[in-house]
């Protein structure tokens, strides 16, 4: 074991960690917001909107993320409207393309997860809310969303972990995140095993932390399913 090499590799890879974290957090943030919009359209009951949401979900769940990313990175520039628009300075950045395609893709999956959560909200509890005079956004904000989110959480944490791993694909559109830097190191040193093991370790630690955080969140939101502990207050 060449510990000197392993530790220097680790240091190099950790320098790329902020890029991975930015990719991850921005795509989860924008993907989550987009997912809320798609979910709202999907359950709106308006045929045009729910049809669009269905098509969106089908396309982004049904095609490989890598191809979506290549289409955004290499494909968008072919359209004059985009190439000569004010958006081009942003859209030609690899980082922007990677975040955009990750967010678009996770929005499709997340929208279905959120819809599943909404379907699990008991009709009786919605009826009780209506009977005290709630409707529209108030009903969604106070009753439907909190219950739906609790139901969606286990599936959503899986999606978040998948997204963390999907950031590795950004290396293929020239974003120098952990996997990209690892590949560059390998092409310089030809030591595939050590470098990729170090990279894998970084992803494992990240996902361990994410899953711990999600478990904690799930635990704190499921007090109503645990035995009553007097003295414990919200």
């Amino acid at each position: 074991m060449d510990f000197a090499f392993l530790s220097s590799t680790m240091v190099t890879l950790i320098r790329a960690l902020p890029t991975t974290l930015v990719l991850f957090s921005l795509s989860i943030l924008f993907g989550g917001m987009l997912a809320l919009l798609i979910t709202a359209m999907r359950v709106s009951g308006i045929r045009l909107l729910s049809g669009f949401a269905r098509a969106y979900i089908f396309v982004f769940r049904g095609s490989p993320l890598l191809i979506q990313m290549f289409l955004v990175f290499y494909g968008l520039g072919q359209f004059g409207v985009i190439r000569y628009s004010f958006l081009w300075p942003f859209l030609r950045e690899p980082m922007v393309c990677a975040v955009l395609s990750l967010a678009l893709c996770t929005a499709g999956y997340t929208a279905e997860i959120f819809r599943g959560g909404i379907r699990a909200v008991p009709a009786k509890e919605i009826e009780a809310a209506r009977s005290v005079g709630m409707s529209g956004f108030l009903l969604v904000r106070r009753i439907i969303a909190p219950i739906a989110f609790r139901h969606a959480l286990p599936a959503y944490s899986t999606e978040i972990v998948l997204m963390m791993k999907s950031t590795a694909l950004a290396s293929l559109v020239t974003v120098w995140e952990v996997t990209g830097v690892a590949q560059r190191l390998i092409s310089q040193t030809y030591r595939t095993m050590e470098v990729f093991l170090c990279a894998a370790l970084i992803y494992l630690v990240l996902n361990f932390l994410i899953l711990q955080a999600m478990n904690l969140l799930e635990y704190s939101l499921s007090r109503h399913r645990r035995p009553f502990a007097p003295g414990l207050r919200a």
Partner: protein, 258 residues
């Protein structure tokens, strides 16, 4: 004020597809009235109650709550309320207690009780909490205020649900078979709370199978059959010599209530 009409229903109709469940129901409730609505299952009594606060949309007829008519639009594709905001307002003035309690499972009992006053009536939270604790004491579950619905027995959940409705300071309380989902030994604690409410002068419309409540607590009994009001009157008349043959046959199934 006693004598004021709190609830007025005129020729209320409701059809599901071609099946007519309510065939023209008319009824008034004055302030302080406690009206028991009896009838076999399928007679339309629950639908009648749910049409009053528009959990079901009536196909025809009028509903007035405290002098305000719920405005409806009757089109070719069916009926719908003219104003969502008015429906929300009317609902906030009508307390509804469900057969299955329908408490919000992710909130504590106290949170359930203050939810409506804080978020629908937009009242100060501290004030609502103080009132909620009084209400919970009144229904006998003050010690459960930080428990969640799943931690309570059915009887306790129903009492919590009654406190949740009362927190809105409703003008009329609607009870939809409030004891039908309860184990027999838990029925009494809920009926005691309802009886106390009746004695305080709350206007109540109670769909029930509890003959003793109908006979001893309510001041009017309404018997529904096949979507119409078969007969109605004071309990002493209804359960006495004045009973219609259909009502006599109906109460025959329950034995002779005291």
């Amino acid at each position: 004020m006693p004598g004021e009409t709190r609830l007025s229903v005129r020729n209320l109709r409701k059809s599901f597809g071609t099946h007519e469940v309510l065939k023209g129901i008319s009824m008034d409730a004055q302030d302080g009235d406690v009206i028991s609505v009896l009838g076999a299952s399928g007679s339309g009594k629950s639908t009648f109650l749910r049409c009053i606060n528009l959990l079901e949309t009536p196909s025809g007829g009028e509903v007035w709550v405290d002098g305000e008519q719920i405005r409806m639009l009757h089109g070719r594709s069916g009926s719908r309320p003219a104003s969502r905001a008015q429906v929300d307002h009317i609902r906030s003035e009508l307390g509804m207690v469900f057969q299955g309690f329908n408490l919000w499972s992710h909130m504590t009992i106290l949170q359930n009780v203050i939810e409506g006053p804080v978020h629908v009536l937009k009242r100060p939270k501290a004030e609502c909490i103080a009132e909620a604790e009084e209400l919970l004491a009144k229904v006998g579950i003050a010690d459960k205020r930080h428990a969640y619905p799943a931690h309570l027995s059915g009887g306790q959940q129903q009492r919590a649900a009654i406190a949740r409705s009362l927190a809105m300071k409703p003008k009329v309380m609607l009870f939809d078979e409030p004891t039908s989902a309860l184990d027999p030994e838990l029925v009494g604690e809920v009926l005691r709370v309802m009886r106390a409410l009746a004695e305080e002068g709350m206007t109540m419309l109670v769909v029930t199978h509890e003959m003793s409540f109908a006979r001893n607590v309510s001041n009017r009994v309404v018997f529904m059959r096949d979507g119409i009001i078969d007969s109605s009157g004071a309990p002493e008349d209804m359960f006495g010599a004045g009973a219609s043959p259909a009502f006599r046959q109906f109460i025959g199934h329950f034995g002779n209530p005291q």
